[in-house]
């Protein structure tokens, strides 16, 4: 009897505590832990409307918004987001203070956002992003893979050369066989002529030249992955002789906002930690104070190393090729969008220029100005389409004067 009573008592206590626990946890999830859908919707809205000026974890054009619900009342937030001008005009002290703190930059009016949408956005600022796991391990795996493919052929070449030289050396020094000696001499002469000729032909040719640049800028990340047009940065190619190395204000068009790379961004084996420092170098050159988001005025030039450089006796004009002829940048500079570290792709020799001038046909459609000369030239050479060489692209004086 006694035991049963105790049992009943216990079970009722359990029931009560369970009920309490559930009601508590329910209320928790309703208030402090927003649902996944809410956060997802909030993130989409945040990225569309807020993220150009606000970040979660650091100051941008406007204040950092992570856990903003802890600092501000929900009704105040709604009033501010919908129409901050009205709120300031109504004499709200907090509204005026934050406006002044951020230098009087007017925030856009978002009257089209509903109360639920604003709640979703605030829910997202409370929960934040979920960090992706496994990004670091992926980088390491790539690191291990990439090394042998580059080193193996080089080692093989060196070994073969050494073995060959050792054999020849042995023939000359140790062997008494006359035939072998003559044979070895012939091989030596051939090798000497071959290597000597190759060495002479490469004088002044810098194909494959890949100097170390002051900032590890990756064309692959910018032009390849993010598909930024070549001419966005090299903006003088369309009007000028040189394609132009962008000044850092062009970098800052994006990097004012992008102060660090994504978790999985990498150049060969170097990951986020290394690349974030490279962005800091841009800030240093531009004189950008990334703490206070202001230019300090103390700039210093970035000493990029020029790769493609024609000798002084040859004239080349970018605008003529890019704007008039519409030649793709990759035709001469190679697959730049795949290069982490830029190198000279083409030999830039005269033979190489002429080769292209002989092959490339001039686009004469819709060019009334040159119609007559094009017709005469195509009659003279008996062809439908005139090549650059036939138009005078092989004359010495066009490039050498």
């Amino acid at each position: 009897m006694k035991i049963v009573k105790l049992h009943r008592k216990l079970s009722s206590v359990l029931k009560l505590s369970l009920a309490l626990f559930f009601s508590f946890s329910l209320s928790l999830s309703a208030q402090d832990k927003p649902s996944d859908e809410q956060v997802k919707a909030g993130k989409a809205l945040f990225n569309m409307h807020c993220a150009s000026c606000h970040k979660l974890d650091k100051k941008s054009t406007g204040p950092a918004l992570g856990n903003v619900a802890e600092r501000r009342d929900m009704d105040w937030l709604k009033a501010w987001i919908k129409n901050n001008n009205e709120l300031r005009a109504s004499g709200d002290a907090d509204a005026k203070a934050i406006y002044e703190e951020f230098g009087g930059v007017a925030m856009s009016v978002f009257e089209f956002l509903s109360d639920e949408q604003i709640e979703d956005i605030i829910a997202y600022t409370t929960v934040g992003d979920v960090k992706k796991a496994g990004a670091a391990t992926a980088v390491q795996a790539v690191e291990a893979e990439s090394t042998p493919s580059q080193v193996l052929p080089m080692i093989a070449t060196i070994v073969v050369t050494l073995v060959l030289l050792a054999l020849i050396g042995w023939v000359f020094l140790k062997s008494n066989n006359g035939f072998l000696k003559i044979f070895a001499t012939i091989i030596l002469v051939f090798l000497g002529v071959y290597f000597g000729f190759t060495a002479l032909m490469s004088v002044g040719v810098d194909e494959g030249y890949q100097p170390v640049q002051p900032i590890a800028f990756s064309h692959k990340i910018h032009a390849g992955d993010n598909k930024i047009d070549c001419q966005y940065c090299h903006s003088s190619a369309k009007h000028s002789k040189t394609s132009g190395i962008p000044s850092v204000n062009v970098c800052m068009n994006c990097h004012k906002n992008i102060s660090e790379v994504a978790e999985d961004t990498k150049i060969e084996t170097k990951g986020k930690a290394y690349l974030d420092k490279e962005i800091q170098k841009v800030y240093e050159a531009a004189g950008w104070d990334s703490e206070n988001l202001k230019y300090t005025g103390e700039t210093k030039p970035v000493k990029w190393v020029r790769i493609h450089n024609l000798p002084d006796f040859a004239y080349f004009n970018h605008s003529q090729h890019v704007t008039v002829a519409g030649v793709k940048c990759q035709k001469c500079h190679g697959p730049v969008e795949e290069m982490d570290e830029l190198y000279q792709y083409a030999p830039l020799t005269m033979g190489w220029c002429i080769e292209c001038h002989k092959e490339t046909e001039v686009n004469i459609a819709g060019n009334g100005y040159y119609k007559k000369i094009h017709e005469q030239l195509s009659q003279k050479y008996g062809v439908d389409k005139v090549t650059i060489a036939q138009l005078g692209g092989k004359e010495c004086g066009k490039c050498h004067y």
Binding site: S52, C53, G104, F112, L173, N226, N253, K256, P311, D312
Partner: protein, 183 residues
């Protein structure tokens, strides 16, 4: 003697093999006087100016040929002023929709999207967020030009990459895109 000869040959060849693999150095130049310009090359280091840079800003107060000064200041008031009063100097003959679209795709579409809906490549890849759809913004030709000129919030000034005429061509294209989005 022969041993010495042998060792030096091997060392010479090995060093030759290794040095010729150094990609970070330019190749040998024959008669470099013909290669290297006596006059200044673009972006060179130079002793001519005190800061050691060859590329200089125009002298304060001078105006280079063809440059037209832009008088609306980079402030909230300047923006409102330009929005109300600034008008395009271009006439119908200056427009070429291919050219406008081409410029827009090079300089704007990577963030703003080809249609101006704020869905450019950088936005899709979540590199640059919060690009508005043109239809959600109350903009005029004056305000569009003003923003290309001075930038606004996180958008930087694109004045250095474009000539005055190109900026107005892009302005025209933005207006067209906005009208298409508002339909």
């Amino acid at each position: 003697m022969s041993r010495l000869f042998k060792i030096t040959t091997v060392i010479a060849i090995v060093t030759l093999v290794f040095t010729s693999c150094d990609k970070t150095k330019r190749n040998l130049q024959y008669m470099p006087d013909m290669y290297q310009s006596v006059s200044g090359e673009p972006y060179e280091e130079s002793d001519v100016f005190t800061n050691g840079i060859e590329a200089q800003q125009p002298v304060v107060g001078s105006i280079s040929r063809g440059h037209i000064p832009y008088e609306y200041p980079d402030t909230n008031e300047g923006y409102e002023d330009a929005k109300m009063n600034l008008k395009s100097p271009l006439t119908a003959e200056d427009f070429d929709s291919n050219k406008e679209a081409q410029l827009f795709e090079i300089y704007c579409a990577v963030c703003h999207g080809k249609k101006g809906d704020g869905q450019g490549e950088l936005v899709k890849r979540e590199k640059f967020l919060g690009i508005p759809n043109y239809k959600d913004r109350d903009i005029t030709e004056g305000s569009i030009y003003h923003v290309i000129m001075h930038g606004k919030n996180m958008m930087g000034s694109h004045a250095s990459q474009l000539t005055e005429k190109e900026r107005w061509l892009i302005t025209k294209h933005v207006q067209e895109l906005r009208n298409n989005l508002l339909k």
